[in-house]
Amino acid sequence: MQDLYRAIHNHPEFKRLEAERARLGWSLTGVVLAIYFSFILVIAFAPELFAQPIHAGSVISWGIPLGILVILISFLLTGYYVYRANTRFDPAREALIRDIRASNPDFREPS
């Protein structure tokens, strides 16, 4: 099986595909981290910002809609990732592996 792993690992198209995928994963992670830690840092250093009412005379403070927005954005981003993985990465990778296997018929099927 290691021969198959090596062939896949050294394949330039595989490298390109996985780099693209890693970029997506890490940038989405970065977005979530940035949003969440801005939220936490406001609570840590400037809680009065979240205490501001959303408009004059309202009891609802900015913290509440913003907090709910963090939850919604997290969900939407997971949806986006799943969509990209299903439509772009899975088919491309499967096709590539089929190619590699076809051009090296002596690879053992993994048990």
Partner: protein
Amino acid sequence: MIRASHLLLPLLLLVPAGSGLAAELEGARPVNYTAIAMFALFVFATLGITWWAARRTRTTKDFYAAGGSITGLQNGLAISGDFMSAASFLGISGLVFASGFDGLIYSIGFLVGWPIILFLLAERLRNLGKYTFADAVSYRLQALPIRSLAACGTLAVVLLYLIAQMVGAGQLIQVLFGLPYPVAVILVGLLMILYVTFGGMIATTWVQLIKAVLLLSGATFMAFMVLLHYGFSPEALFADAVRVHDSGRDIMAPGGLVSDPISAISLGLALMFGTAGLPHILMRFFTVGDAREARRSVFFATGFIGYFYILTFIIGFGAIVLVGTNPEFRDAAGDLLGGNNMAAVHLGEAVGGDIFLGFISAVAFATILAVVSGLTLSGASALSHDLYASVFRHGRVSERDEVRVSRIATIILGILAIGLGIVFQEQNVAYMVGLAFAIAASVNFPILFLSMYWRRLSTRGAAVGGFIGLATAVLCMLLGPTIWVDILGNDEAIFPYKHPALFSMSAAFISIALFSLLDRSRRAQDEQQAFDWQYVRSQTGIGAEGASKH
């Protein structure tokens, strides 16, 4: 299982009789038979499922991983079931009830771990592992030290998490049946042991699934009734809450819960990265057939959990106005009956009467039972699969033996959980779970994450650094305000912060990096070479356990 129902039947029949007496003795409210009937009905229904599943548990794979036969949507529901524990439902609504906005800090922290798991870990984990996350880490690292570390980390997390659930369940049973708290905790412990020893993962998965649906419906109903009361105007709800709450306007802003920046950041880190180190959650990625289904499970789980957290926020505020102002729910001293953790349960009675009270209590109880079972199961598999089968017997063990050991481990964990549940009675359950998250973020998460993303990670680095992370986290907790002052009764905490994650996570990552970089052994070089093969397998699923067979 026949033996089990013989044990259980007299136990449940005894409860109403004994509880009436206890209620009279303690001067609590009269026993609510409608609520209890609903409650008993539901508990028996879930036991029925366990029995059904028990007949289907034949192999080790069935016991730990439900035979890999669960779909993405089902698993997403089961994951959210695991996650919508006593901490989420009772704890967060209790926190919102007590301090308003602060509850949302926990909700958001619990939720944002999920996208991170999806983007960085879920698929790789599924492709590398078999039953536990230690399988994935020991793909290229030496099994013995890694499994020992993973087992210790898992047990620490599981125990803390268990305590929180036991406290929630104990208080629930105490309120509903008027039973003394210790009796309630023992009852929960016994039921939990029955669940896990007979059903294994298939049973807990099904219970989680059904319970997730019921809990989501119940919480939706409660939030709907609260909003209906205010003509669907959040403004009116919040205005009323501010008017009646002791803290007034302060409940709309971050407040006492995270009083200093260090605690806020520390809590934030624990909640965000802790999810990615929770053994009973990571275990759920092996119950699906392949990486694609693992991915879908996270998507569904994030949706359900996010929706649920928005509901608990409304429920908490609803409890402030509908429960907090009603003297019926207060004891002589003016405290909430059963403690703040019970805010959601009382709200159930306030908006839905006795029948709904019985329903929501049963759902909360089943929630706890199912979460506790999932936790115990992952604790048990840490002991039987990671320690007993792999470390002590070097993999030369029959499936029969391994399942037997994990059943014994379940019983031991159950007894421990009962004892600790009694000791930690006064703690908010969401906070207790926060501590479990801190350990998960300081031990399991660093080694899992680095094993997948850092080529230079060596066995020595992971083992030594992981233990340093674990020791730092446990020590900070023991010397911190909760245990050192509240439980042990000392005057001043040696470690001043309630949340250790900032310190213990840093300790773990720095020492893992240091000991890996200094490791110049031959083995460390082989491990770096194996990183490439691990990478291919984790990305493609070629050679993955159970993949493509389902």
